[in-house]
């Protein structure tokens, strides 16, 4: 094992409620905790309405959390009040959005879209430096510097997503939240964008929070994964732990629903249907079942899950 990994982001007991105290109160994120190590990709999966995007938005403080702590590099950013501090924080944390059509201002030239962060944070001393920086960014994401004078509508979806990535990179962030960055793209273009994100991670040492509902892509890109449902984290562990040895019934149901490009497999697929357990009064929270593999359960379920994981691991050994 390598030396102890540094935790870059830690989320503790995050709650994000909307319409608090009203009849239509929504507990979009309900008491979740996780941490992300420096240089890794943490994947967050779940269906729409599970709270995964809300989590991402709370982490970058687009929402003010109802409760909980968000500690980025040792500082609790949920408590930041001064505008100046918030701006500083957002230099280090950037976001790439889902819809490459809606997230770029149609009236701005690509150059200005990318340079907006540079201007706000005064990262360029003069015009020449600004242009040089923008051109460099365009090249990094695989576009041509001459593209900078065009408007967003002149680009395809994949190219627009690259512009979105260049914009996020412009302020030299350390941490990027990718909110379904490839869902709107074609399969062949998805691979291009995912490869770009991975190359950047390798070259620049970025840390990602990768939010998506395409589980096979999340598995490909993530080191560790959290599974969300109804505002709660139900399972968390390494990519391998969650995909091969995922034991929470919801994780199993989600995994069984992924379509694979293999007709033989598809014909024999058995889908597992998830039913939320009936309410009992047991206290449920994320508990560590095996090292670094957490499942949302009550105290007495720990043993059951542990046995389940062991059985799955034994079965995997057998089939080798």
């Amino acid at each position: 094992m390598e030396a102890k990994k540094k935790v870059l982001l830690e989320v503790k007991g995050l709650k994000q409620y909307f319409n608090v105290g009203r009849k239509d109160e929504v507990k979009a994120v309900d008491d979740i905790s996780f941490h992300i190590y420096e240089g890794e990709t943490f994947g967050l999966v779940g269906e729409s309405g599970s709270g995964k995007s809300t989590t991402g938005r709370s982490v970058i403080r687009l929402y003010d959390p109802t409760a909980g702590e968000i500690i980025f590099d040792g500082k609790d950013i949920s408590k930041i009040r001064a505008k100046k501090d918030l701006q500083e924080f957002r230099r280090e944390v950037q976001m790439i959005f889902q819809d490459p059509y809606a997230s770029l201002n149609p009236r701005m030239k690509v150059n200005d879209i990318i340079a907006e962060g540079i201007d706000i944070n005064k990262l360029a001393n003069d015009e020449a430096q600004r242009t040089a920086k923008v051109n460099e960014l365009l090249q990094v994401v695989g576009l041509d510097p001459s593209h900078g004078t065009r408007y967003p509508h002149e680009f395809s979806g994949g190219q627009r997503q690259r512009i979105g990535i260049a914009r996020a990179l412009a302020v030299d962030p350390r941490f990027i939240i990718c909110d379904e960055p490839i869902s709107a793209l074609d399969v062949s273009i998805q691979a291009q964008v995912v490869n770009l994100l991975q190359d950047l991670q390798k070259n620049v040492g970025l840390t990602y929070l990768f939010i998506a509902h395409d589980l096979s892509m999340v598995k490909h890109i993530s080191d560790r994964i959290g599974v969300m449902h109804s505002g709660k984290l139900l399972e968390m562990g390494s990519s391998e732990d969650v995909y091969s040895f995922g034991v929470h019934p919801y994780t199993e149901s989600l995994l069984s629903a992924i379509p694979l490009p293999d007709p033989e497999y598809e014909r024999n697929r058995k889908r597992i249907i998830y039913q939320a357990p009936a309410a009992d009064n047991k206290e449920r929270k994320l508990r560590e079942i095996t090292p670094e593999h957490y499942v949302y359960c009550s105290e007495d379920e720990v043993m059951i899950y542990r046995q389940k994981i062991e059985a799955k691991k034994a079965a995997a050994q057998e089939s080798l």
Partner: protein
Amino acid sequence: MEKVLEVKDLRISFDTFAGKVNAIRGVSFELFKGETLAIVGESGSGKSVTTRSIMRLLSSNATIDSGEILFKGQDIVRKTEKQMQTIRGKEIAMIFQDPMTSLDPTMPIGKQVAESLIKHNKVSKQEGLTQALELLKLVGIPNAEKRLKNYPHQFSGGQRQRIVIAIALICYPEVLIADEPTTALDVTIQAQILELLKDLQEKISTSIIFITHDLGVVANVADRVAVMYGGRLVEVGTAEEIFYNPQHPYTWGLLGSMPTMEGTEDKLYAIPGSPPDLLDPPKGDAFYPRNEYALKIDAEQEPPYFEVSPTHKAATWLLAPQAPKVTPPAEIVRRWAIYEQRYKKTGGAN
């Protein structure tokens, strides 16, 4: 097998400010009774245009330059709008991609489902609603009796797509065109909708044309697969042939760019470049500029179809007798091995 639909050398172009866009450049295929044909390809490849032309729902700047669409022996291209109205929705129906925008927000869903039945089959409103209720139960809308009078916004995305499916199926159409019906949905909901479609297909023996760019979904639903690129079908075959014995480099690229669940690969294969500009279609093979396996002839001459088996053909010069042998990507070699092993016919072309 009985042919329900036959498309012959279809060519469609669009008049735009920039010039004439040749969106469909000679597409031919047939659809047999009770089967599901999946058309895959990236945005702009022409898959939606092809199917919209079958419904005669092309925009006003589109022209069908040549070709025939034979439905039960009659050419749809030559039908008047009035004649089309007796076919559209009744004999050929369509499920659209976006369940949020394909329902009328101001009309209760019972009425929307019954509408085409009342129009086409001249049943009474009461009878229409009764049948609509039956179908809504069948597609799995809980509490359907109580919800007939509800409006679309009162349903979730998955339920809306079920309603859209009910609308398409109410007249028991012979051909159902499903244009990316699950792209906007979550995997769990997607799986439910696909199961529902297969179930209903068995019950009323409809033929389905399924458009998608998700190969996982294709593997799940398709009997046969047509791969579309730059306004042409580049490869057509049974699902087994396309998934385990693909021959066209574009099909290789598509299959290679999906992550596998074993997840041993470091880096995904990505097809380089972007789709062709159909304003000015390339002289040779449209895939040529992005094709790592391109031969010299690809730049000059469009490849014809080479037959791999009676049910399988591909338009690539790699299948020409005098073409050099190439080794496809590792993922494809793995798939070819499965084909050799399980389907025991003589494997690939080479």
